[in-house]
């Protein structure tokens, strides 16, 4: 098939960007979207022009490294599909495809289609863990976890940290990512000891980087793993509870 791509080019965070248009002939419909970009790059290099920089690694939808705005949709038109799992057969002969990086104030563009997503790591660093130093753990079956709880935690833990939720949100909010990470740990019995402290720390770090949630729901639609926005409600509820439960903080850190 033949397609035209309008692809975003930008030297670095400080430079102005622009769209570049390329005609791509003889693309196989069985190619993945990123393989189409590989072909574009191969042709650019043969022509002596610098290839388009874009991130990807596992190319099977689990590492969360890839992520492109394709025709204005995070990860493109296919539902619950990461960019690397999208195939060219989802497009039609003669289509013009617009390819942009994630657009969010928290994610500065490093080059072309690559953005810096380190604020997602900052949210985890703030409290996205259960403190359990190596060696001291009791036998695994001493902590029974009801199957329903474990399944719900796994639904949240499936998040791949790609940042599509932020990119899709008109407010560039980080709620879906943060709530998925938080819910995973707050749901399981092992996570209870740090539950309220974790909630405050993660939510407040999130707010330092990202916009506010106004319930558009675009994040859920864009999520390649289909993470439910119910987790955002769960996080909000835990945040309110945490404000009450963290008694040592009342009247002190948060007047």
């Amino acid at each position: 098939m033949n397609v035209t791509v309008r692809v975003w080019r930008q030297e670095d965070a400080g430079s102005a960007g622009r769209f570049e248009t390329h005609q791509l002939d003889d693309i196989s419909a069985d190619m993945s979207f990123l393989e189409m970009l590989d072909v574009l790059n191969e042709r650019l290099i043969e022509a002596g022009r610098e290839p388009v920089a874009f991130d990807s690694d596992c190319r099977e939808g689990i590492c969360g490294t890839c992520g492109l705005m394709i025709n204005g949709q995070a990860h493109g038109p296919a539902e619950a599909t990461a960019t690397c799992q999208l195939h060219m057969r989802k497009f039609s002969e003669g289509d013009t495809i617009t390819i942009e990086p994630w657009r969010a104030a928290a994610f500065p563009i490093m080059r072309d289609l690559i953005v810096d997503r380190s604020p997602l790591d900052a949210v985890i660093e703030a409290g996205g863990f259960i403190s359990a130093d190596t060696g001291g753990a009791p036998d695994a079956n001493l902590i029974p976890v009801p199957k329903t709880v474990s399944d719900a935690a796994m639904d949240a833990a499936a998040c791949i940290g790609c940042g599509a939720c932020v990119a899709a949100c008109p407010n560039s909010a980080g709620q879906l990512f943060t709530s998925a990470k938080l819910a995973h740990l707050n749901l399981v019995p092992q996570g209870q000891a740090q539950r309220w402290e974790r909630t405050i720390d993660m939510v407040e770090t999130m707010e330092a980087f990202f916009g506010s949630c106004t319930n558009y729901g675009e994040c859920e639609k864009a999520c390649p793993k289909g993470i439910s926005i119910d987790f955002i409600a769960y996080m909000n509820r835990d945040f309110v509870k945490a404000k009450m439960k963290n008694r040592k903080l009342i009247g002190q850190k948060f007047p």
């Binding site: 191969e42 290839p51 690694d57 099977e60 689990i62 799992q85 996205g128 403190s131 130093d133």
Partner: protein, 640 residues
Amino acid sequence: MSIQLESGAPGGPIQDSWDTYRFDTALVNPNNKRRFELLVVGTGLAGAAAAASLAQLGYQVKAFTFHDSPRRAHSIAAQGGINAAKNYKNDGDSVYRLFYDTVKGGDFRARERNVYRLAQVSVNIIDQCVAQGVPFAREYGGLLDNRSFGGAQVSRTFYARGQTGQQLLLGAYSALMEQVAKGTVTLFPKAEMLDVVTKDGRACGIITRNLQTGSIESHSGHAVLLCTGGYSNVFYLSTNAMNCNVTAAWRAHRKGAAFANPCFTQIHPTCIPASDEFQSKLTLMSESLRNDGRIWVPRDPDDKRPARQVPEPERDYFLERRYPAFGNLVPRDIASRAAKREVDSGHGVGQLGNGVYLDFSEAIGRLGEAVVRERYGNLFEMYERITDESPYQTPMRIYPAPHYAMGGLWVDYSLMTTVPGLYALGEANFSDHGANRLGASALMQGLADGYFVIPYTVGSYLSTLLGQAAVPTTDPVFAEARASVTSEVDRWLSTKGTHSVDHYHRELGKIMWENCGMARNRVGLEKAITELPQLREDFRNNVRVLGQNESVNQSLEKVARVDDFFELGELMCRDALHREESCGGHFREEHQTDEGEAKRDDEHFAYVGAWEWSGHGEPQVLHQEPLEFDYVKLTQRSYK
């Protein structure tokens, strides 16, 4: 320099080896621990687990990853599960049985005492991960669920849906990030290690290139831990992630670390075949599909009818025909070679004739579509996403693909390479899987090395360095190493050739796959050993790397990796050529039984082949570590 391959494992009863080692090892007291700086390269399961655990002990740790976040490492893609000898199912499992299965599954080419320790600490791994909140699958009563996996007769595999690797890595990553928050680990994302620095024969630091700014940086430490994964991408097409490479391990090899058993690579039988020339990687479909799917090809090579129209008598269910006892459930290496035989003889299916059918129609008839959907629904969906064909309607097409490297840097019982102070953990070392890895054992080994082995063993080396500061980065050895990395970068940027890096990587992959893939023979290996240096010469003179060093430059990142793959590829072929036997993933066509099965030669080849670097363009020197089997009886594997 002469290399001594002493495992250093304590003698006596194997059950006591690890206890003896731990008791005999000098400890580093807590006040001294904070005076030691440790560099951990790679943040997958082994690296993240090691960095977090060592920081908890009080060491000063620097962790390096070339990804934007530690959580991207390829450990994340492991689907199936992780083994542990918990015996929660009361079905006869034990540490000894896991040890036995692993040595036997590795076709008797692993070091017994290392494997025994792996089986011992496997139970602690599950405890540790559960404490971190890893959402393993549960029974309705809330206890942990298990399933069975290839090469074992017990249910000892713990899993988290089809995303076990992801959940274990997120657990290790969260432990790592907690230490980053505490300031005990300094994290360096987007930093690719390009050299190991040594002084007086000891590892004292590394040189990294920042993939964002291009800056070439020195880092010094008392010890360096390489947790940098495997090298299956030498084949270009593999199930590994795009960025997996051998560079860190290879640079260590060039600084004196012996490289062991490079020809032991694993080919996974159930992957989706390539669809065109521009295919960038292959996708694995879980081995569990072979429980209900039947593998076949049309009897007539010229039969181009759609699968459904080929009548039953004209189908050849070749695994069931050749291996009536195990049928479609023969081990990975055997299933892979059988499929290759069919494709090579022209029976391959699909547009490119490069696959065999994995057919579920019989299972759907027997169990009903609903049951099949429940068991394999997510895999069928993944297959359909990639191929646009529904396995409910038409058989899947599958073909084997490179998947895992059993070979790697030689390490002793303490995981130290032949360079003092330089360690290798996880897939980057050679130690535990012999010539073939069993399913669900890679995650186990990565975490065992990181959580439970290195925190003890590194102390035995560090205790000899008490009171010594790390070699400062102002030392001339660092300037020298930095200069060599810088000149390499300049070399690539000034080559001004015509072809892309990928072009050469693909060509390299073709040679490797054809001659050093699923089946090897003398003629092919010798041909590859002649062709590889020629292609490498062409590559070094005619590759085109555009752009500059001082910004994101993905061609520049790739070019050095491919250069190292060339040298590794040649060594793999030499290793495969010298090993005149067939064992596990290494199948030499000259060495097979009358029925076409692998024929080991324990008399001559029951050793680890560790190669010592002797300069660019010079063949490496082989050293041997004899393997002794005091506990597991050497037998021929049979699946008839």
